[in-house]
Symmetry: C2
């Protein structure tokens, strides 16, 4: 059976899957990226995981990779990975396995997955935002992933949305992801605890221990501070989606990742702010939805789609 | 000789041109949109101007129109035009003249013009910002104009960039165009006159009389307040271009319209802020340039390109 090897490289873990042409995940593995000290370490672990997979599935047609901070066929300047320098991953894997290998940004693999199997099915124009530790973004216009001149497009996390705002790991202040992400809402909770007298069960949790999930659980219990944190986050997100909405006029915006699990707690303030910010001609037509897919799975299926030809063609997979 | 009739509809005036296949403007006219009280008035004036042009050029192949606030084949909710209601302009002209008629946003005709004859020639991915009374925007990705689900994409003017910022005609506060436009820099000059003691020749000009051109002239004389106004405007513009830069990764951003005539006075602070905001992987690669074309002419040629088939194809001229 024809298969594709999917690799989703992340700062915490790297997921591998063997996917068949009907997009069934036949087998998947998770590698610990964090324990790798450098590029050599990482590739040793990766090769070790790939080898038995390719032996078990000899009809593998190619390798599809999603990774942070791509530039054309290389991973470059990924601060969360053990190799911040330029790594020509496509060339490395093509040389080693003699299989066509394709690389796009992780936000784009998620977007492909949503388009193939998620709520973006049938949409020609849509945006996927993955709200996890950071904020990822994939944009599809006219059925093509927007890649930009060097394959780096869709980097929305570091748009500065507040002057002199929160310090970001990138060195700037006020980046979108310092507000809109699992980490962002946690910072918001601490800001609200500092600014207000609002009672909250979250006041008993340390910064190190607080998670977006705990904030969601508190919100479900009616915790006013947790609700205020979702409101604050949704307003910033809604404003940005309104801007994207008027810039691209997508049919939908799909929210994925840990923070999106909060569903209506996040959607309600987001949609309210978006509609308020949209010009009348754009109102009541952009669907904002939380993903129905497992984020990891969506990214792996999206990466597999790079390999299978019919889909490869529609992803605009070339670098001009 | 085969020709195209171009129409560029604006709030102050509407420009018409007969353009040949080599993109030479054979004849052009300017109608006063402002004196038209309503749709009926407007079409009377328009028909009156079109008739002799079509008689003089019987081989006209079609009509290309650029207008504010389009939605598919209609002009809708254009607050600067004498018909804020929905006007099915494509159907009206096709019925009257039996010629294929094409409509896109004015920002997109400007972008097509820049791609055909301006500084965006050879760029696959670029953005054109027209900085006049308002702020217009046209985006080209992978050689296609981004139109969005209903042909309304590229509406960047009303992105809210400052909470509780300047009042905008749209009813919101802090819209980008209240800062970055000919009108925006004028408001900045008045804000700076209010906030500072900086001496300036501009203090002798009333709000009603002040123009972006006068601010440019003052800057050329070394007027510190005028220079500060360009600096303030450029910082806001540069921040937004950085965001667009990371979202689309365009090869270039072309600034056109009245305010762009100021050249380096606007470019210098814009580029400095943009580079500061860009993640390292995006730095030193996005060209920000002021247009070398006459804005009106670029829009008319862009509209003509909708008609001539070779270009029509690459504009993605369809509404899904």
């Amino acid at each position: 059976m024809k298969t594709a090897l999917s690799i989703d490289i992340g700062g915490t873990s790297t997921k591998l899957a063997m996917v068949d042409v009907s997009y069934k995940i036949l087998e998947s593995h998770r590698l610990n990226t964090k324990v790798c000290k450098n590029e050599v370490d990482f590739f040793e672990v990766l090769f070790h995981a790939i080898m038995p997979l390719l032996q078990a599935y000899p009809k593998t047609e190619g390798i599809g990779i999603g990774a942070p901070s791509c530039r054309a066929d290389a991973i470059v300047g990924a601060t969360n990975l053990p190799f911040p320098q330029r790594v020509e991953i496509v060339k490395i894997l093509e040389t080693k396995y003699a299989l066509p290998t394709f690389l796009i940004k992780d936000g784009s693999t998620a977007a492909l997955g949503e388009g193939l199997f998620g709520l973006a099915q049938g949409m020609r124009n849509y945006v996927v935002l993955t709200l996890g530790t950071g904020l990822g973004c994939g944009i599809v216009l006219n059925n093509e992933v927007v890649r930009g001149s060097n394959g780096q497009a869709g980097e929305l996390a570091h748009a500065v949305i507040k002057e002199n705002g929160r310090a970001c790991k990138c060195g700037k202040n006020g980046c979108l992801e310092t507000y809109v992400s699992a980490t962002g809402i946690k910072r918001t909770v601490f800001q609200l605890m500092a600014d207000s007298h609002t009672e909250s069960s979250l006041r008993n949790i340390s910064f190190s221990e607080l998670t977006a999930k705990a904030i969601f659980e508190a919100a479900k219990q009616g915790d006013l501070l947790a609700l205020a944190a979702f409101d604050y986050t949704g307003k910033i997100l809604g404003r940005k989606i309104a801007e994207l909405g008027m810039t691209f006029e997508p049919e939908g915006v799909i929210l994925a990742g840990g923070l999106a699990s909060a569903g209506a707690f996040l959607l309600q303030p987001t949609i309210a702010q978006m509609e308020q910010d949209l010009l009348p001609a754009f109102q009541n037509q952009i669907k904002v939805l939380t993903s129905s897919l497992d984020t990891n799975e969506a990214a792996l299926l999206g990466a597999a789609s790079l390999v299978f030809n019919n889909v490869k063609e529609r992803t605009g997979l070339y670098i001009s």
